[in-house]
Amino acid sequence: MRRKRGISVAIAAVVAAGLALVASGCGGGGSSGSNNSTAAPAGKTFPTLKVAWGTTDYFDPGLSYRLESWQLFQDVYLGLVVKAHVSCQTDNCTKIEPGLATTTGTVTDGGKNFKFTLRKGIKYSNGEPVKASDFKATIIRDFKLNSPGIGFFSNIVGVDACEANPTSCSDISGIVTDDKAGTVEIKLKTPESDFLYVLSIPFTAVVPASTPQKDTENPPPAAAGPYYITNYNPSKSFTVKRNPYWKKNEIPAVPNGNPDTIQGTMTDDESQSAQLVASGQAMYDENVLPVDRLAFYKKKYSDQIKFFTTPSTYYFFMNQQLAPFNNLKARQAVNYAIDRQQLVNLRGGLGVPTWNFLPPSYPQYKKITPTPYPYDLQKAKQLVQQSGTAGQKVTIYTISDVAVDLSTGEYLQSQLNKIGWKATLKPIAGANYFTIVGNQSTKAQIGFTDWFEDYPYPSDWFNILLNGEHIKPVHNNNYGNVNIKSLNKEIDRLDSLPPSEALSASTNSAWAKVDKAFSDNAATVPYLNGILTSFFSSQMNVACDIFTDSQDDPAQFCLK
């Protein structure tokens, strides 16, 4: 998933919705900022949590592909399995736990068959019982909505007809449900190591079969989680209330939640958002703090602000099918020409320079040593000369309406000019940016992009972003058209391991090697992992803040 692109033209700067994924505790990363050794104090319930929130695309779990929505959805829409919530306090956050199903499923047939049994007596916020057939209806609904999530389902048996013509999708033979027994069985074409993760994202969160098969926003579809959304006024406000049919402690992984009501004011204006919290009109600021006031806020509200690294990588893509970047030396030159520290500075310091593609929070992450491409403008110049592409024209794509992205593009342009190319800048509105650079006819040579995980597994990175087999004419995610046959094969192999082998030590190191191989190939120019902020008002107890897989969990916020 990409962080949201603000379209507020003037004031919004880094409109990142702050994907607050904690640095994973599993294996590598150590504990997260909030993940203190002592458990967070269990909060008491309180009537109303007022929050300042970034705007989002949709509030329908079948359609939304933005963090702002997903952060709320974790307490609203539940899948058969869920990402770690409560256990994040003490355990690791990359864990998948049982959600609406009683277990994390039984995997058979070498990883091709997943079977789940639903918990009994769970009801949606509209009073309807949660049925097994609702799962299938949800997936079919995703197709009918032309959901951006349908790409995750292509490995399910019998989806071909739906993929060909999503809006007339009527059945998927690979999903077998039994309402009486409460069982859901999913058959895959090939084993898939990350499939449990797929089942934890909101696109697979179960909504009633009776939900209209169109964008449903006011109110959004009925929810099976502890909360439901009662009101949503796009770009302006939302209200979330307790699900009256929620049974306490029914699902151990999902907390009951402290606030009775969450009232959100939506804005992309970071300074306004921050001031709402500073003045006590809101209790939590979902937007990132404005870059040029960071120091000020940090000084004045030091106890109320948290910083956390996100499982994200900001990088430049380089189109390997177009000159000059079909030349390895040219790609290496760009890698040498970028002073990653300066790009961190552009974000006010909110970032950690990186040379790996995979973020450090992953157990599969292994820092590439020695630093592969230290900043060296001379070397970059030489490489451009050696590549024989000096003097060529290069067009840089970047996002026009986010100041930092624009500056980043300007920085790249200046560096490329310094090392011997004639670079021009092409800024495009964020709303259309990825559609345009993802269209092969645009022939985007080089440009800005970033990636925030959908779920914590490397296939969400390498398979989606760098696997040459997934290059598409439009809506391409592999903007650089990176296509290295041997690595494609290795990604495919790792991706189709049975889930039991997905996190083994050998698999982890195999992923790390893939990461290194892409670095050697100078496939992209990864430059930083993002850091985001959480800003609480003085009446909040910051110690309650739990980072779940995707973000702070508003359900677990508590008062002092």
Binding site: I7, S8, P148, T167, A429, H475
Partner: protein
């Protein structure tokens, strides 16, 4: 009048259809869409139809309040309606300020023509109309609002509070936007009025009024101001209509007021045609309607037109 609106809609449509790379079907289809998806959507939205048919469909949808945005499928008319309170609050407040102060400043300036007060007002008015609104807005917001910047936070840092929710906060949040929007108009109206008054003072009928032995105040108010205000009323009608119709894009954007202009800015950024079409037509409608009102007011103020 309807003809003007239709023509306006056609021009907006034309402007946006010449954008390449802005294929709305592709945007709706989302990230993982196939070519087939896109074709299907294109058909559903009628984007495969001819230029004129598409335009007709769009206008029809707009007038039947069924028009939805390409980027997030929200109903355009609903969104405009939701922007109305903020936009109207901004426009009406600012309108009162700029008209009131414009008349005051222009009158004082004309009456004391040549003296220090006139020169000071003229200088201030000139400075006022010379500042870019975006800049003025940013500077005012930075220096007077938000404690992260200058350390002064007399005013809230942008945003809009509905009048019905909290009248005091409504007023408090709107002070800076009102001032920002009004400054240029005050300067401009003041100057126009000053020169109108100085022109009118030389009219024969003012000399007649003086010869009748009327007091200066009475001559000013009854004979000079009334005649001088007629062109101002015309201007005010158009400017006010433009702001009411979402024309204060920059002010609404700088202060993050979620009004019609703000909505337009958002739609422009995402190259979203239907909302832009809606807002532009909405704005044009205000201008057309107010032009009519201005004509009526004109007839009321000037009997020569009324009776001819």
């Amino acid at each position: 009048m309807l003809l003007v609106l239709l023509a306006v809609s056609f021009i907006v449509y034309f402007i946006f259809i010449v954008i390449p790379g802005g294929d709305p079907a592709q945007r709706i289809a989302g990230k993982v869409a196939t070519q087939a998806n896109i074709l299907a959507i294109r058909k559903k939205l009628g984007l495969d139809q001819s230029f004129i048919v598409q335009w007709y469909d769009l206008v029809k949808a707009l007038f039947t309040a069924k028009l939805v945005s390409y980027s997030n499928q929200t109903n355009v008319v609903d969104q405009i309606k939701q922007g109305l309170p903020a936009t109207f609050s901004l426009a009406i407040g600012a309108g009162i300020i700029w008209f009131g102060f414009g008349v005051l400043v222009g009158t004082i300036s004309a009456v004391t023509a040549g003296r220090i007060s006139d020169r000071a007002i003229t200088a201030l008015a000139l400075i006022g109309i010379s500042m870019p609104v975006a800049w003025l807005g940013l500077i005012l917001r930075f220096f007077l609002a938000g404690d992260g910047g200058s350390g002064v936070s007399w005013f809230p840092d942008g945003g809009y509070v509905p009048l019905s929710a909290n009248p005091a906060q409504w007023f408090y949040h709107l002070i800076l936007p009102w001032l920002t929007l009004a400054v240029l108009f005050i300067g401009f109206y003041g100057r126009v009025l000053r020169s109108n008054i100085l022109d009118t003072i030389n009219e024969d009928f003012v000399r007649t009024a003086k010869a009748k032995g009327l007091s200066s105040r009475r001559i000013l108010v009854k004979h000079v101001l009334r005649a001088s205000l007629i062109p101002i009323v015309t201007l005010f009608g158009l400017d006010f209509a433009s702001v009411l119709g979402g024309g204060a894009i920059i002010t609404e954007t700088v202060y993050n007021l979620h009004g019609v202009g703000w909505y337009a800015a958002q739609s422009i950024a995402s190259e979203d045609l239907p909302p832009l079409m809606g807002v532009t037509l909405f704005g044009a409608m205000f201008i057309v309607v107010f032009s009519l009102l201005v004509d009526i007011a004109y007839a009321y103020l000037d009997p020569r037109i009324r009776l001819s």
